[in-house]
Amino acid sequence: MYRSFFLFFIFLCVRLTGQGQQQIAGMVTDVKGQPVEGANIYITGTLDGASSDKTGKFSFTTTQTGTVTLGASYVGYKDFRLTAPVDQMGQLKILLSVREKALEEVVVRASTFSLGKSRTLEKLDALDVVMTGSSNGDIYGALMSLPGTQKVGEDGKLYIRGGDNRETQTFIDGMHVLSPYSVTAQDMPARGRFSPFLFQGINFSLGGYESEFGQALSAVLPMDTKDVAGSTKAGINFSPLSAGGGGSVAFRKSSLSANVNFTDLTLYNKVLPDRYAWKKPYQSLAAEAQYKTTVGARGIFKLYTAYDRTAFIRTFADTLNNVPERDFRLQQDNYYLNATLKTKTRHNTHLFFGAAGSYVANRYDNARFQRDSYHQNEQELHLKAKLEKNIVPGYRLSTGMEAYLRGYRAIYHDTLQHRLQDQQVNYQLYAAFVDNQVRLLPGVYANASGRMEYAQFSSAWNFSPRVSLNYLADHFQVSAIWGRYYQMPDNSVLAAPHENMQQSIATHYILGASYEYRGRLVKAETYYKQYDQLELLQQQVYHANGYGKSAGFDVYFSDETSVPHLKYNVSYSYNDAARLYRDFPVMSTPLFASRHNARMSGKYYFPALKTYAGVTTTYASGRPYRDPNRDGYINAIDKDYFSLDANLTFLVSKQVILYTSCGNITGRQNTYGYRYAPLPDDKGVYQGAPVMASRNNFFYIGVFISLKSSSAYDVSSF
């Protein structure tokens, strides 16, 4: 009996001893010795813990005994762990060090402009695109206010750092778009086909981009569409030149969105005629739709399709080439389909599968003479699979493969409907890429990647290496990038007589630095691009013997915070480019390259007027051109370009927006070089005419109405 009670007494003592309380106390500071307020200090595996106060001090009691593990954590800092006897934790000094960003969170600013960050909860402000003074609601127009771009007013496409427009490629959700621009008449600037409101993230890289993006010699424009729409909505818009509407229907885990716009310049041309004579003014129908659905807890599937039909008939005579008046008729049908699946496994492996198809059919009637015709169609199928994973905390691997299947055909019938030309080309291109992102030291990141391509057209393997080294501090970044990129020559070149054609090469060398502080960003970058294997016409046959270079620097300053309601940016770009390609007989500055480009863009909100105003000024030094009346090849410089563009956005009511814009307010007659007759006149002079846009100014006024009472200022159908 006594023995039993003794035993019971011992057990009771053991239990009561277990309930004895130990005090844990100390102070939490960061590496600079500053107290960290609000840190969570606790015994792991228990609820025992406390928060640090303003002075970083904390204290709490625990019933734990023996050796325990103490944890301390605060957002943005590395978790702290200490394993020790609990009775030795009476006066702790806990030092929290700043947590290195996960590799997928690291944003390198070098050579890239991001409008919205699709990796985080921060979303693209599509209105920023629309409200850029020079954009006219066009993504490409807005991007032209950034450094590194060059003003080529007669076609409106993106020309980057001395590169041709086809050296910049557009990707939607990682998949290639064969023809991202609308088609226009000669010397009328093209616009992008896609609404800025379709996208939640636009990352514009002006060089040195990741190996995932091949087949682009100068720049890439990857854009990510929005995720599943959260709400059902609808809207309409109309203006003197267009009308449209669309909306989204949201389901439990998916959404279906559609948008249609019809543009007709008939009325506009009557009120504000341009220099051209139109038999049937420019008309276009643009329709797009997207279905998005979540797949499990971590995946999303998107199916996007777009169709554009553009048509017009312009009556004109080519007096320089002695071509009589004709009714030039153009009709384009442009189809695009894109399906992607993104998902993440339980082990945080990101998987991506995508397929995209493009088909563009152009029909030109009375192309060179009345009653002739020229038909051209291009198609592309792009397939891609990609895997991304953080292998260890300091190493992230991204790898994948893709295939391009392309076709092209061009047929010309003369005025008697004889088939004088029938060119056709089909080829495939296969690629595999590996991208290794490594954290070498705190704040020092390296990227080594490679892309192997097999071009069936030339039966050649090509390897594109890329290396970058980045130092990223809190506000300051400096980067050095070297990369080699390949791109197939244009289909029209491949379909023409050629010999030993190879993929063109551009090797990029980029050194850049940036400083960002409280909404202000300063960037400076210098670059050098070496071109090789460019297409060169020699004795009417294309060879891959061309070459070239482009060097320069860009500086950029933006500020969102100094003046309330004002966002502005200023940039300057210097470029020195020369190349021997196409029909150039000697190495020359390409016709699209201007040496100096400067831009200033600002957006201001007037709260009392409920109005946003956007203003952009653009300056470009004169572009080179060839004057056959002078010696030499590219032997003349055109006058400087200047444009002042503005827009106003009035929030008329919660559901009505009035948007107005004006391009080239001053009405300056900008010219883009000169065209000359192929033969001299009887006085021995080559007659010429300046290349000019069809109109000096462009005015737009449109009304956007949201049809749902709960949504406000929402002009997006997606």
Binding site: L7, G38, N40, S73, V75, D125, G230, S231, S710
Partner: protein, 214 residues
Amino acid sequence: MKNMFALWIFLTMMISGYAQNTINCEEQLQLVLNKVKAEKDMSGLYNHVNTLKRLSGLCPGEWLPDYYITYLDLKLVLSKATDKPADLLQEAAEKLAVLKGNAKANASEVCTLEGYYYYAMIAQDPAVNGQKYYREVVAGYEKAIRLDPSNPRPQLQLAIFQNLMAAFMKQTDSGFCDKLQTLEQTFRDFKPASAVAPGWGLSELLYVRENNCH
């Protein structure tokens, strides 16, 4: 026999000791929420958020601790009771990402929090962020309502946000007070799934009504 009695006592105590060390998540959560309700000082919420974080670590896969961490972080941000709103917003964003990937979580409540998160973002700098995030606020609440039409919280938050938007446009939301009247009944009809399931909002409704509807 006596030895058996002693052994029984010993085992009982050991088992009860084990039970003490094993967390009953719901009970513990209830205790924390009771303390949160009793807390008079907004800055005191910090301690409860940290307790919830410890509870979250002890209850893997449970969505409610993460839900309340996010909700309280956002309340702290909106009450201006913190001088580190960016840290709390970052933490809220991280927890929201976790909640969205948790199949156990009530999707309607998570969508409500997402709308609330963007509302807190707008509150940081209405002139800049209002234009950026208003669509996400509306979309979050509307999706929450679609997922559970009986959930009164997204309905209340959407009504409040629309009323603020109307004020921004120097207009009045004429149906606001009627909406609040209807919503009060919706709140009273709403039956939370458990004692610790989200049930907040009614006191905010009454406060807003008192200040806006006479």
